[in-house]
């Protein structure tokens, strides 16, 4: 039945239902004289409808379910396939994610036994077949004893596609190896032959894409095992017909086999090459050697699969030898099936085999073996006791892996690590040079020494102890370090103060404002103790806390902290020092948010004046750009577009040249300028700025960073102006979710974003969704921000401020 026919059935059924029962038949013949299939269907439906004993209101069918007679569905399919006389179904061989496989007899043109695979409902049959026909030429080129030929494809009357293949009477390779208790060497020899078959296919330009034990069968010929790869070319045909963009269905089901899926497949990458098969071969080898796949699922539920998709991309599998050691009680039977004992098996795997397997399993395909040949050759070298090509990872390589592992949840993780280790020590040493007094120098030196020890020893120990066996996030490392801090430096408050400032800053960088506050407050408390003198760290702590207050919308508290820090800094360094200039910048930002643009402008002008009177260094130039950028933003917010546009354009141009595209000043100014241009109706120019900016920031800061949310909102506003509402909705929803997570729902930024989302939903005429969002709005402005600037069209998010570099 076609869609058109279905639509007709639907209309006719509705129409017939409105007729008196006695007249339905005649009415139907009159309305549908031309299509007996449609008419018969409607007649049958009307009969079913009349027969229903339950009313329409009761729960469906009022009954339960049972596991029915197997033959019901199957017999119909068999009948359909056998209808044209070419095949006769004999028995069911197995079932998989894609469908069922039968043993069948081919009647024409040759009489022989074949395997017939019926694809599950839900795949687009027409596309499967078109794709398959396109592949047929290539598939026909393959001629290898280790590859089962695909012979034919077709569709059943009810629209299911099927494939016909050479019949292989064998067991999955893993089952075969275990049944026959093959030792590691015999398994490797078998594996090399699998590689040879795959290599043949690759040379003919055919990828498998779904290599796994059930697709690698071992048959016995003349008493010798012969591995045969089945299903070549089929995954490709199906992949193309699957829902676009992902290998995961709505219910979180993988269309492939998750354990054998490469990272590039897991993200739905369409650009698959031979290295995808190499990865799957790596998994197969891993399983042949250890009895388990490198990444294992603990549960098979839908959410587990979504999570597993992430795991495929991010988690580094344990070395085969490590896995063997940690198998638990199972390891005795695993070893026995390899005719050995656990300890010997672990020793056999350790070293060369570990590296071979891990090289095939690299997440980054550029790091894998370049060809199946290279993989087979390395296994061959191992078997011949020659040096292998795969190498144990170097230290720097391991560090890169560590960095990548930690990139996931907290994008800036590694950067913070250096911020902590490098920043604190660096500035402390700088101060020693600057200060000549011996006593002060000694003290600073002692602080630096202790801090360095703490970071290098405790923090790295934390990394090591945490990283064993599972992923560590920067957050976990920080937590571990913070725990070690309590009570550790009771007699040396200056050192604790220095460390609290650093930890606070790291947490703030991660958006963990509550924790950041805790450390800063503790630091400030220490700095106020009699006898404690470490002005740099004391200023750091106050500045840090002020930044947290600003980020959380408590601008009044921020102002008073900043003024306190400014006094201290001027006493410490004089007005032209690094700190006072930096603090003045923050102060001006805060005043702006307190809706005192006049005060803010005056402070900015003072900083610009001071900077212009200083020796012309690159650093000074950079700072000048920052301040000018902020002044531009201030004008922007005060609707002084004519003042704002030239200053922002100038800063953006100079910053891009001097600081690069990914520098914060460049990014922030770009953001402002995009908003400005949009409001001036110059949508094309605005788009040219904001689209690349969003991508850049997502890459640099991670998907969930608050600043990324602001940029999403800006892009959303642009899409709205362009009438691309669905895109705008997606962006705004993401932004709201991100902000709620970072700041909480009550925060002015979150509230502002939610309001925008509500407006958009109303505009899109989705009152229910709008109401749901509106329920999140607090009726009153948040209590901490009595002076929050009005949410005007020109409002700039408070947290998108220039960085404090100290």
């Amino acid at each position: 039945m076609t869609s058109d026919q279905f639509a007709r059935v639907e209309a006719l059924f509705d129409g017939a239902c409105a007729q008196p029962a006695a007249l339905q038949g005649a009415w139907l013949r009159e309305q549908c004289p031309d299509d007996p299939e449609v008419r018969q269907k409607v007649e049958a439906m009307l009969a079913q409808d009349a027969r229903s004993r339950v009313s329409l209101d009761s729960p469906a069918f009022g009954a339960g379910f049972h596991v029915g007679d197997v033959s019901g569905v199957e017999q119909r399919l068999r009948a359909e396939i056998e209808a044209d006389g070419r095949y006769r179904i004999q028995s069911l061989l197995g079932e998989g994610g894609f469908g069922s496989v039968y043993r069948a007899e081919q009647m024409h043109p040759v009489r022989r036994d074949v395997a017939l695979k019926i694809v599950k409902v839900g795949m687009d049959t027409a596309r499967v077949l078109v794709r398959f026909e396109a592949e047929c030429q290539t598939l026909a080129l393959m001629n290898h004893p280790g590859i089962a030929k695909v012979l034919d494809a077709g569709a059943t009357a009810s629209g299911r596609s099927f494939f016909v293949m050479e019949l292989v009477e064998g067991r999955p390779i893993t089952v075969y190896c275990d049944d026959e208790q093959l030792d590691t060497v015999a398994r490797l020899q078998l594996f090399v032959r699998v590689c040879e078959a795959v290599r043949h296919a690759h040379q003919k330009g055919v990828l498998h894409r779904d290599l796994k034990p059930s697709n690698v069968l071992v048959a016995e010929r003349d008493g010798q095992p012969v591995p045969i790869v089945i299903d070549f070319g089929i995954a490709r045909a199906m992949d193309d017909a699957a829902p676009v963009g992902s290998l995961v269905t709505e219910q979180g089901q993988f269309l492939g086999t998750p354990e054998y899926m490469s990272p590039e497949q897991a993200v739905g990458e369409r650009d698959i090459d031979t290295r995808t098969d190499i990865y799957a071969l790596g998994v197969l080898l891993y399983e042949l050697l250890t009895g388990t796949t490198p990444l294992t699922r603990t549960s098979s539920d839908a959410a587990g699969l979504l999570e597993f998709q992430r795991v495929i991309r991010e988690r580094e599998p344990p070395k085969p030898s490590t896995r063997c050691k940690t198998l638990g009680p199972e390891r005795v039977s695993v070893a026995r099936r390899r005719r050995t004992d656990p300890a010997t098996l672990t020793r056999t795997l350790r070293g060369d085999l570990d590296w071979i397997v891990l090289k095939a399993l690299e997440k980054d395909r550029a790091m894998r073996y370049a060809s199946v040949d290279a993989l087979a050759a390395d296994v061959g070298r191992y078997l011949a006791d020659e040096p292998i090509a795969a190498r144990p990872p170097s230290k720097s390589y391991q560090f890169r892996k560590f960095a990548r592992r930690n990139k996931g949840p907290l994008a800036a993780g590694i950067a913070i690590f250096f911020l902590l280790v490098g920043g604190v020590i660096g500035t402390a040493i700088g101060m020693i040079r600057a200060r000549h007094e011996a006593g002060v120098a000694r003290k600073e030196s002692a602080i630096a020494q202790a801090v360095s020890e703490f970071l290098n020893h405790d923090l790295l120990t934390a990394v090591e102890s945490q990283s064993r066996g599972h992923d560590v996030t920067m957050r976990q490392i920080l937590d571990a370090a913070a725990q070690r801090l309590d009570g550790r430096f009771d007699d040396r408050p200056e050192i604790e103060l220095a460390l609290r400032s650093s930890l606070g800053r790291a947490y703030r960088y991660l958006g963990e404002f509550a924790l950041a506050r805790k450390h800063f407050e503790r630091g400030i408390e220490l700095s106020r103790r009699p006898g404690v003198s470490a002005p740099k760290y004391s200023i750091d702590a106050k500045l840090g806390l002020a930044n947290v207050d600003n980020a959380l919308g408590d601008y009044a508290a921020a102002e008073s902290l900043l003024r306190e820090a400014l006094d201290e800094a001027i006493r410490f360094e004089g007005e032209r020092g690094g700190y006072p200039l930096l603090i003045m910048n923050s102060l001006a930002q805060t005043l702006r948010r307190l809706d005192r643009p006049g005060d803010a402008e005056a402070v900015y002008q003072r900083v610009i004046e001071l900077r212009r009177s200083m020796p012309d260094s690159t650093d000074n130039q950079k700072e000048l750009l920052t301040v000018m950028s902020n002044l531009g933003t201030l004008y922007f917010m005060a609707d002084r577009y004519a003042d704002a546009a030239p200053i922002l354009s100038e800063v953006r141009e100079r910053a891009e040249k001097m600081l690069g595209l990914e520098h914060e000043v460049t990014m922030k100014t770009t953001y402002d300028l995009a908003g400005l241009l949009r409001r001036l109706g110059r949508l094309g120019e605005s788009e040219a700025l904001i689209v690349p900016l969003k991508e850049r920031m997502e890459r640099v800061l991670g998907e969930n960073h608050p600043l990324v949310c602001f940029v999403r909102n800006e892009l959303a506003a642009l899409r709205q102006d362009q009438g691309r509402l669905e895109e705008a909705l997606a962006l705004r929803s993401q932004a709201v979710a991100g902000l709620e997570r970072a700041f909480g729902r009550e925060h002015p930024e979150s509230q502002y974003s939610i309001r925008q989302l509500v407006r958009l939903l109303e505009q899109m005429n989705r009152p229910d969704d709008a109401a749901e969002q509106r329920a999140k709005l607090t009726t009153q402005p948040a209590t901490t921000t009595p002076t929050t600037p009005r949410a005007t069209a020109t409002r700039v998010p408070a947290a998108l401020t220039p960085p404090d570099r100290h």
């Binding site: 059924f13 469906a60 009954a63 596991v67 079932e95 587990g304 979710a737 969002q773």
Partner: protein, 190 residues
């Protein structure tokens, strides 16, 4: 329940439908709970139980929502999700059973056990097949059936969950039911 307290579940349920995140958070909870309940029934299968998904879903909902006093709208959201999962659980289970039994050539029917139960019982796999065909023509009707069959929602609740009018839901349900009944009927005759 995966270590999440009732309050959290309530919050997630309250948010549900507003974004993907909460749906994703909720999914494993509902799934676990349903599977656990279903498993206890499956374990009993020797005594030839007919599976009543409606009862399972309702029980899961009561357990998860606790005394939190959820709104009707949330209930509909919950059932939208739960019915989808319930369907999956039943189909997976049925496939497992069929595969298990196949070697021995047994026919698996629990029909004998149905005597005395009101109304007919439906072959899970046959329904799944027919439902997937229906979804190809009319995804909306398939969703409606899913809510009614596997979630046990009334027409009114299903209409709410799908944001369609009650009249429309009634008409579509009548059509879908007749269509499916005929498909299932053909399947057994073939």
């Amino acid at each position: 329940m995966s270590g999440l307290d009732a309050q959290t579940v309530t919050r997630i349920l309250a948010d549900f439908g507003s974004n993907d995140v909460s749906a994703r958070q909720l999914l494993p909870l509902v799934y676990d709970e349903l599977r656990r309940l279903a498993a206890s029934l499956f374990a009993d299968e020797r005594s030839n139980h007919t599976l009543q998904p409606t009862a399972l879903v309702n029980e899961a909902f009561l357990r998860m929502a606790g005394n939190a006093g959820l709104r009707v709208a949330n209930r509909a959201h919950f059932f939208r999700l739960a019915s989808k999962i319930m369907r999956q659980i039943l189909v997976d289970h049925a496939r497992g059973r069929v595969a298990q039994k196949r070697g021995s050539g047994d026919r698996i029917t629990l029909d004998d056990s149905l005597r005395g139960i009101e109304g007919p019982s439906i072959d899970v796999l046959a329904l799944e097949e027919a439902l997937e065909r229906l979804a190809q023509f009319s995804p909306d009707k398939a969703r409606l059936v899913e809510l009614r069959f596997f979630g046990g929602l009334t027409i009114e609740e299903a209409a709410d969950a799908l944001a369609i009018s009650r009249t429309q839901a009634t008409r579509e349900w009548r059509m879908a039911r007749a269509w499916l009944a005929d498909e299932l009927n053909r399947g057994t005759q073939a």
